[in-house]
């Protein structure tokens, strides 16, 4: 049995699934769109698109404020979505789920509020070589402000974290470890259980940037015993502008608010304000109500298919693509970790990734080229960037075949 037939058995309803995503019908230069830029943002199913419309046609009103009918309905839907997110990551309490604008804002919130409370001069924050700029820059800002230091876990040539080096970095100055669960540039799935265990053995909390994890595999914050976990709605088949910060109650309670405003207060006088309880302490102002409700719709959709099944199918796509691409002369994979999510990053010998992206675009194939917001990582590999194809469960082996043919054509045109 070849790989394609195995895959067909895994997701027999692939055609039905594809019909859920109207944008997949797009034509580019007269060819069907092949969307392999899922790590940047995923497409949205009708179930999410309809939920947006439903919100504005039936529920629109401000939340947590009005006694009137609509406000209560909107608030109910809003809080139901918080429960869905909590159960999606198996948080112990709903109020440990804070809605933010995205992964970036979630990380900035923790850098600001955790940093303010717990980080002082000469302390250390640990990140890894694989981080997205959004898990680098907020810590640089914090470290500069506090005169603290940022340390970086090195990687091997396959793009895997060097755990011995990490272990050696864990001294009493370390206040937080913040690493990604899955690398957006290379697809490496990091040994997060081990990272958390090692850090916890020294009483150091851990934050996971799960922006590239929650859409690919089941994530259980209690089982991981992780202290903070962050992700974005738009990479999870939901809307843009909405993100999640999960934090253990004990940390969130000790952290000062991030922004001041409405919603986050209990009482305000000009002399003194007392803050609202969790989660509202960290949700100042009118939230992205439609975003919150529709991230719930996205989670419902994913749950219906099942993350275990998604994980298996995407893994088959990854193996199939890697195998087919390997046949191309002069291809060099960047990121060959043993444990990978459905991301293939590569370069063609003596060809700039940008050029490959331009040619693939002419074939209607959407990939990402460049540094993927991980410039320090590209510097480690001494490359300007990579061509990155990232797969979702609505992608198929047929699309991969067309993509591989496109890469071959690009290689012959550009070489």
């Amino acid at each position: 049995m070849n790989t394609a037939t195995i895959i067909a058995q895994e997701i027999p309803d692939i055609e039905k699934i594809r019909r859920d995503f109207p944008i997949l019908d797009t034509k580019v230069n007269g060819r069907p769109l092949i969307y392999f830029d899922n790590a940047a943002s995923t497409q949205k199913p009708w179930q999410v698109i309809k939920a947006i419309e439903h919100y504005y046609t039936n529920l629109n009103s401000n939340v947590h404020r009005g006694v009137h009918y609509l406000s209560q309905k909107a608030t109910d839907a809003f809080e139901a979505s918080r429960r869905k997110v909590a159960s999606f990551i198996n948080a112990e309490h709903d109020y440990e789920v804070i809605f933010t604008g995205g992964t970036t804002e979630s990380i900035n919130l923790v850098a600001h509020s955790f940093g303010k409370q717990f980080v002082k001069a000469c302390d250390t924050i640990i990140i890894s070589s694989l981080e997205h700029h959004s898990n680098i820059v907020p810590w640089q800002i914090l470290c500069e402000e506090k005169n603290a230091q940022l340390k970086v876990i090195p990687i091997n040539e396959k793009g895997e974290l060097l755990m011995d080096a990490f272990k050696a970095m864990l001294d009493e100055t370390v206040k937080l470890v913040s690493v990604n669960y899955v690398s957006n540039s290379l697809g490496t799935i990091n040994p997060v259980r081990e990272i958390i265990e090692l850090a916890h053995s020294k009483n150091i909390p851990v934050m996971l940037d799960a922006a590239q994890a929650v859409q690919h595999m089941p994530v259980d914050v209690q089982e991981l015993d992780v202290d903070f976990l962050v992700f974005s709605g738009h990479k999870l088949y939901g809307p843009t502008g909405i993100g999640v910060l999960y934090g253990k109650e004990k940390w969130l309670n000790q952290m000062p608010p991030y922004q001041g405003g409405g919603e986050m207060i209990k009482t305000v006088t000009f002399e003194k304000t007392t803050y609202n309880e969790l989660p509202f302490k960290f949700e100042a102002g009118t939230p992205h109500i439609e975003g919150v409700i529709c991230i719930g719709a996205a989670i419902d959709y994913i749950n219906e298919i099942g993350l275990e099944k998604i994980d298996r199918y995407e893994h088959e796509l990854l193996e199939y693509a890697t195998e087919k691409l390997s046949e191309i002369e002069g291809i060099k994979f960047i990121g060959t970790a043993d444990n990978k999510a459905s991301v293939v990053s590569f370069n063609l010998e003596n060809i700039h990734p940008y050029d490959v992206g331009v040619i693939l675009d002419q074939f209607g194939i959407a990939v990402r080229t460049g540094h993927h917001c991980t410039q320090p990582l590209m510097d480690i590999f001494a490359i300007p960037g990579t061509v990155r194809a990232s797969f979702a469960f609505y992608n198929t082996t047929v699309e991969i075949d067309i993509f591989v043919a496109g890469v071959k054509k690009a290689a012959s045109m550009l070489g």
Binding site: N29, H352, D355, T369, G370, P384
Partner: protein, 142 residues
């Protein structure tokens, strides 16, 4: 030839191509043919930072005309750069400042001027015009 005559010539050349592949093959070819820029000019000050492809631009002013030399690490960008140089180089500063580069659109490569492409082409054109403008005001001041 004037700037517009060169642009029209380029547009005519591109009309010969049947499909996008031939068009891009031509752009790539022009990239390969662009005279190699002297390494001394590939320095940090000459680097125009596009997000993805690097472009180096060097300019000289001789006998009332501005001469441009450029390079890029991406071959398609280099081809586009070579077209822009063919159009703008070896003209008086005031002609360069006033030039309306309509050829990019007309040869069907407009998408390369968009911000999201971040290939440095747009910044390069801006830089060329700024350079010409600087010379223009220097000449006037003298």
């Amino acid at each position: 030839m004037t700037i517009n005559e060169i642009q029209d010539e380029l547009i005519e050349e591109f009309e010969l191509f049947g499909d996008w592949m031939e068009k891009y093959e031509n752009v790539i070819q022009m990239g390969k043919e662009l005279p190699v820029i002297d390494v001394q000019y590939k320095k940090e000050e000459n680097l125009i930072k596009g997000c993805q492809a690097k472009v180096w631009l060097h300019a000289d002013y001789k006998d009332g005309k501005v001469l441009f030399m450029a390079d890029s690490d991406a071959i398609i960008t280099k081809g586009l750069v070579s077209m822009v140089i063919r159009v703008l180089s070896n003209h008086a500063p005031e002609e360069i400042v006033a030039a309306d580069l309509y050829f990019v659109d007309r040869v069907g490569l407009r998408e390369h001027l968009s911000m999201t492409r971040s290939n440095g082409l747009l910044s390069m054109i801006k830089q060329m015009k700024m350079y010409a403008m600087a010379i223009q005001s220097k000449v006037k001041a003298n």
